[in-house]
Symmetry: C2
Subunit: 223 residues, 2 copies
């Protein structure tokens, strides 16, 4: 069985990626980041989801994104609330963390290389990439090219790195359907940008609004 | 004056890059990494060199490379000593840290984006790239492409990121000559992979051997 490194945030999207990669026959090593999030509860949920969804190993890496500031997800900028869907899907949002997916994928690449794995999975999707530059397919393709030039594995011939994005073309409703089909415990995933310490979603940030819309469109109940 | 982010390790190469970027008219913001090095003295030297060479700001980011193991520079693998030059210049050395330059450049990109800078400099060179895959010109070119796809700046049009590698085509002797020409306090730089706590170079690792050869070929004295 091939090993894969799966980026796991504790949210619905990355949990669904983990379930999809497991379904596709990979032995999954999950990786979460402590990057100065507003609440640590998402890290607890990520570790729990890794166990529930059968990851063979879960690691948490600490990184210093906060040192660079610049985002409502890490700094003391307020998370925008109750924006309409049109506003959500246009322009780069203030919750954008500079170069976040580049940094996350770079760590995943280091981890994969030490495991002799050449498969990496990330939960970028059609909703994200309207707003976040580092969720677009052309960004992912560029990272895959980079990965094969950056590493010992890539250089010495043999394995080629693949960046898997099983959600890339899915809407939020499509992700909800896939999550339910794959048995993801959706009630234990946390999408909110501004949850309470105990993990209650705020219900008003962009992520909560998109999640609610996704469940509604999928005709499913979000427990 | 344009701002640039300069990766600064405390070694001769990156100090020379800082001096070269300053000469070229950039206001330099330097960035060092605490990544579980054998000795922290190189971080002290980096901060000192940033001041001496006129950086406008110096930051140190902590990253978790050690969590992934796999290198004599971070883990408890012995640093190879007294290898002959032929061995040094062939194959990927055990001092290779998985995906290190990808991770370093990803952080530099985050820092640059928060500064509204679109110039990043790194001290890769002709000696390194015979051994380290992530020092080759094609890796740097791929990262530049990635940077312009990864970021808000790149996406919203306007500035394009440039990765500067002023040492790319230089031999170690060429770097020594440039360093002396630009007034780098070479005696305060630390190239050794395995220094003492107080910063005395071991004189036997690949980095010490290449440095000695570089000074000899440049006809210079390494104080």
């Amino acid at each position: 069985m091939k090993r894969a490194v799966v980026l796991l945030s504790g949210g619905l999207d990355s949990a669904t990626v983990l379930a999809a990669m497991t379904r596709d026959g990979f032995r999954c090593h999950t990786l979460s980041f402590n990057y100065g999030q507003r609440q640590k509860i998402e890290l607890t949920r990520a570790a729990e989801l890794a166990r529930t969804l059968g990851a063979v190993e879960h690691r948490e890496a600490t990184i210093d994104l906060r040192a660079f500031g610049g985002s409502a997800l890490t700094a003391d900028i307020a998370v925008p609330k109750d924006r309409d869907e049109n506003a959500i899907s246009h322009g780069v949002p203030i919750t954008y963390v500079p170069a976040r997916n580049t940094i996350f994928l770079a760590h995943a690449l280091a981890y994969a290389e030490t495991l002799n794995a050449c498969d990496i999975a990330i939960g970028v999707n059609a909703i994200d990439y309207s707003g976040y530059p580092d969720c677009r397919p052309e960004f992912i393709a560029a990272f895959e090219t980079l990965a094969n030039l950056a590493t010992k594995a890539g250089t010495e011939g043999g394995a080629r790195f693949t960046i898997h994005t099983p959600l890339q073309t899915l809407s939020k409703a499509g992700i909800v359907r896939l999550a339910l089909e794959l048995g993801v415990p959706v009630g234990r995933t946390l999408s909110c940008y501004d949850p309470s310490i105990s993990g209650e979603p705020c219900a008003h940030c962009d992520a909560c609004i998109l999640r609610r819309k996704g469940f509604a469109e999928a005709g499913a109940v979000d427990r």
